[in-house]
């Protein structure tokens, strides 16, 4: 009987999915923030290398965002699939 009560209570999957998506976005925000921070500091130290640093920053940010979208895709699958 306890099991059935627990199983009934876990029917809030859509709500949990939103929390999961929010946690994934926190990870993305922190990661891309750190990338931006080090890129700004490096560009301030050596303005001649600003072009290369900017390129690297964009690539690193896109990779981190790709991982975030993996998590978001899993969340969407949990809700819709």
């Amino acid at each position: 009987m306890l099991l059935s009560t627990i199983l009934e209570a876990v029917s809030f999957v859509p709500g949990l999915v939103s929390i999961g998506a929010a946690i994934a976005i926190i990870g993305a925000g922190l990661g891309i923030g750190k990338i931006g921070q080090s890129a700004m500091e490096a560009m301030a130290r050596q303005p001649e290398a600003a072009g290369k640093i900017q390129t690297g920053m964009i690539i690193a940010a896109a990779l981190v965002e790709g991982a975030t979208f993996f998590a978001l895709a899993v969340c969407l699958l949990a809700v819709l699939g």
Binding site: L63, G66, F69, F70, A73
Partner: protein, 369 residues
């Protein structure tokens, strides 16, 4: 007129416009019309998914669409059917369209089994999904991008071929600038100089295809509004092409590094490192596919949700509140469109540069001791 005065007048006019809908709301509470609820989910999925016809608008209840052809082959029967999607898209609930003995209809977006797809109703009432190679909205979008790319780049190539040393025209200058930003910025830094000529055509094509497919998906009117790159199937094919280019043209050294790398024996005797390396060759194009798909689809969904918010709030609280929401919603949507332009360029850039890096890694010569 002084700057401050202009600022004050502008703010007053804007405040009046934003508050006008409240007057509409006061009149709206008198009548309570029975209108159908705005279905947000089907609104979003019908705009971001594939469709058999190009729905443009509705005039006086009659939909104005561009009817694309449906081409299907029925299972266990093998007969081909080709007809205009006008017949299946304008059916009422429960009707089917009969063509040479087979009955078809299109499942609505909210259906469980085949949402939005053409199904065949067999003689015993069961549903089956035929082999479907219809020319849908996404196929139309892909062909449009291809025709645009050919029309944009080929004349420049012909002009160069005709007279290589002539003074380039402005159009040739533009094509040259676009090509060299990709060639010198993406291809040359990552691929050894001897192989650039072999791989540059693919990388250039994939960059411009993804860029223009993303941009065309943002333009909201007739020939351009197909959501091409926001579909898993299309990004799957692009990632598959990168996988083929990396692995089919890979060096012998590249394959040796996967199956028998320069690591201590206990890591490669139980095939631990080789299996990890093999999985990583698949994961890298897989990540390319999901990154492009999710970025573009997420952007489209946010724009659709912001615009749909007007109708959702209008449905819940009356037309007046919907009017107030529309002022805020339009501002946010304009901002999202600007960000989507940036995302379109960045995603094309990242896909191409990662493909170039993977191809370059597979072409490395071993260092000489």
């Amino acid at each position: 007129m002084s700057h401050v005065l202009k600022y004050i007048i502008f703010s007053l006019v804007f405040a009046c416009m934003a508050l006008l809908p409240f007057q509409g709301m006061a009149q709206d509470t008198v009548q309570e019309p029975q209108k159908e609820k705005f279905d947000a989910k089907s609104f979003i999925f019908s705009h971001t998914g594939d469709a058999y016809c190009y729905h443009i608008t509705e005039i006086k209840g009659r939909p104005i669409c561009v009817w694309l052809p449906v081409m299907v082959k029925c299972k266990d029967g093998g007969s081909w059917h080709c007809f205009s999607s006008k017949h299946v898209c304008e059916l009422k609930e429960g009707e089917t369209f009969e063509h040479n003995g087979a009955h078809f209809y299109v499942e609505p977006i909210s259906a469980d089994k085949y949402p939005g797809k053409l199904v065949e109703v067999k003689a015993d009432g069961s549903l089956s999904r035929p082999f479907d190679i219809s020319f849908t909205r996404n196929a139309f979008g892909i062909f449009l991008v291809c025709i645009f790319l050919l029309a944009f780049f080929l004349p420049a190539a012909r002009m160069y071929k005709k007279d290589t040393l002539a003074k380039p025209t402005k159009y040739q200058g533009l094509v040259e600038w676009l090509t060299y930003t990709v060639l010198d910025g993406i291809v040359r830094p990552n691929i050894p100089e001897k192989k650039v000529k072999k791989f540059a055509p693919y990388l250039l094509t994939v960059f411009f295809f993804i860029l223009f497919a993303n941009l065309f998906g943002l333009i909201p009117f007739f020939p351009f509004s197909a959501n091409v790159t926001g579909n898993l199937s299309i990004t799957l094919v692009l990632a598959l092409l990168t996988y083929i280019f990396v692995n089919v043209f890979g060096n012998k050294h590249y394959w040796k590094d996967i199956f028998w790398p320069d690591v201590p024996i206990f890591l490669k005797a139980i095939p631990l490192m080789p299996i990890i390396e093999l999985i990583s060759t698949i994961i890298k194009p897989f990540a390319l596919m999901v990154r492009l798909f999710a970025n573009i689809l997420a952007g489209h969904i946010v724009i659709l949700v912001l615009m749909g918010l007007i109708f959702i709030i209008g449905g819940m609280y009356g037309t007046g509140m919907g009017g107030v929401t529309s002022v805020i919603s339009i501002f946010m949507t304009v901002f999202m469109f600007a960000m989507e332009l940036l995302v379109a360029y960045i995603q094309a850039y990242v896909f191409t540069i990662l493909s170039a890096v993977f191809i370059g890694l597979a072409q490395q010569e071993p260092e000489h001791e």
